[in-house]
């Protein structure tokens, strides 16, 4: 098998920014959210939009039309919330190959206000239309959550442990002035919030918001000449395995992460779980980061429940995770992966304010797309 280690530390993120605000933004169209974060990221890198010669986005044609730019390399990978992690990996290869020098990666989503957004869903003859829709699936709570009862049965994972994920994550959001939900919560608060799709209560489910984020990437040689501290790409992995949740290979394990993206990213980086100072594990629901912890080898199979209950990932714990407050409490536009990267970059630059982790050198960013359908992992570092 070809070896990706040659691309370790060969590219860096030199621009990173979100929209001016995130949350409820009915005065922005979806494309405006892309554009505002794009201009902010380009400015953060000390560049002009005309310097951009490569673009990655879930809808690159729309974006280039809107921004009025003519890239010589594009990537339109659109596999849900982890798309932007995949874009980072693709951009690294494109820069190394000479396909582009300065790549802009953008996300914008009017997930809550639905301004300038197309409709959901597919037709009755799609696989989902035939084999899932007739049974009343109605958005992520009734699909993404389906595997967890199997995990509970197999490993004894409890509702209290699921609630602990929300509690630990909220404790970080308290320290983030941009977060939508900033009041501390308890396990009892989670369990007494209304049931959305048992075992998921309201506070086990991510927010629905508007916002955007963007990144600028260049080669390692150029990276030192930019205003901000470079954040290097050390490892990456990507995978798609299924579309519908009913085709998930093993409902007790995130196979895409365990078999492909974790091993691939760690091998490329030459690092392992013990070397990670910080993690951003996409939290669409309480169980999502638990599956990540197990699949990536941070804990053993079935051990994520007790681990979360021990609050290792909360402020003051030994493994800071989802330090922006996550999709559960910070913001979740629909494809949250971009915000996970933004927080990793902010932490590695030392820009995370009250929630800054001291002495951080590495961060792992990991996300699903769809219903554990696609998977991507990034390992980033600042040395």
């Amino acid at each position: 098998m070809a070896d990706s280690t040659a691309l370790r530390h060969k590219t860096a993120i030199v621009g990173a920014a979100e929209t001016n605000t995130v949350g409820v933004l009915p005065d922005y169209s979806q494309l405006q959210l892309h554009a505002e974060s794009a201009f902010n990221a380009v400015a953060d890198a000390g560049l002009k939009m005309s310097d951009i010669d490569g673009v990655a986005s879930v809808a690159p044609a729309q974006l280039t039309e809107y921004l009025g730019i003519m890239p010589r390399w594009v990537d339109g990978t659109s596999v849900g919330g982890c798309s932007f992690l995949i874009h980072v990996g693709h951009a690294a290869a494109a820069i190394a190959a000479g396909y582009a020098d300065t790549v802009l990666i953008t996300h914008g989503e009017s997930g809550r206000s639905r301004v300038g957004v197309g409709g959901f869903g597919g037709g009755a003859s799609t696989i989902g239309g035939q084999f899932e829709a007739p049974f009343g699936v109605a958005g992520p709570p009734t699909m993404f959550s389906v595997p967890i009862v199997h995990h509970m049965k197999k490993f004894g994972t409890t509702e209290e442990q699921l609630a602990a994920v929300s509690v630990a994550t909220r404790a970080w959001a308290v320290k983030n002035p941009r977060a939508m939900m900033r009041d501390p919560i308890t396990v009892d608060d989670v369990l007494s919030s209304r049931i959305i799709a048992w075992p998921m209560h309201l506070l086990n489910c991510c927010l629905v918001t508007d916002g955007g984020g963007a990144l600028v990437m260049v080669s390692e040689e150029r990276a030192r000449d930019f205003p901000k501290k470079p954040v290097y790409l050390l490892g990456r992995g990507e995978n798609t395995a299924h579309q519908g949740i009913s085709s998930m290979r093993d409902m007790s394990v995130w196979s895409g992460a365990a078999e492909v993206t974790g091993p691939e990213a760690f091998r490329m980086a030459g690092l392992g779980p013990k070397d990670m100072d910080h993690a951003m594990f996409y939290d669409a629901f309480s169980h999502t980061p638990m599956y990540a912890l197990e699949a990536l080898g941070f804990v053993g199979p079935g051990e994520s429940g007790p681990y979360m209950a021990e609050m290792h990932t909360a402020p003051g714990g030994d493994f800071p995770m989802n330090t922006n407050g996550g999709g559960l409490s910070y913001t979740h536009t629909g494809m949250y992966g971009m915000f996970a990267i933004q927080e990793a970059v902010a932490q590695l630059r030392g820009e995370s304010g009250e929630r800054q982790i001291d002495g951080i050198e590495t961060s792992i960013v990991h996300a699903p797309g769809g219903m554990f359908s696609a998977t991507a992992t990034l390992i980033l570092g600042n040395q």
Binding site: S125, I127, Q130, F135, G136, V146, K153, R194, I195, I245
Partner: protein, 135 residues
């Protein structure tokens, strides 16, 4: 407010035999003639060994409750709470369905690995959906 209709499937060439089977009140799924695996959903090759030597076969319609959610906020065509389940058939494959016949479903009424069997729900003259009940 009037309830919208339940979403109904539209068969495609490679799935027609499956839906025709349900109309005839038979659960027919495919089995690979080379590696002997049953699989679901229908497609003209084995997703395990990629052989095209596959055939539909009538199966028992019995299985166990693999995983589920109890939807309290779900599709407007459904009366919440209702159960969206993954059933593992005795022949091996897993499929999404609903568990019907459980009044006011709670986790206590839906134990892990509970035995289930198929109920053919003739939604209209063209479509029969596979539903499951506890046995």
């Amino acid at each position: 407010m009037q309830k919208p209709p339940r979403p109904l499937p539209q068969a495609t060439p490679e799935t027609k035999e499956y839906w025709d089977g349900l109309k005839a009140h038979e659960l027919r799924i495919q089995r690979c003639s080379d590696c002997s695996e049953f699989y679901f959903f229908p497609r003209p090759f084995c997703p395990s060994c990629h052989s095209q030597n596959v055939a539909f076969q009538k199966v028992s319609g019995k299985g166990k409750l693999h995983s589920y959610v109890i939807a309290h906020r779900g599709h407007p065509a459904f009366d919440a709470p209702y159960v969206i389940a993954i059933v593992e058939l005795n022949e091996g494959p897993k499929m999404m369905t609903n568990i019907i016949g459980v009044d006011d479903p709670t986790p206590e009424k839906l134990p892990a690995d509970a035995a289930v069997e198929i109920v053919f729900d003739d939604v209209n003259e063209n479509v029969t959906l596979p539903q499951f009940k506890l046995v």
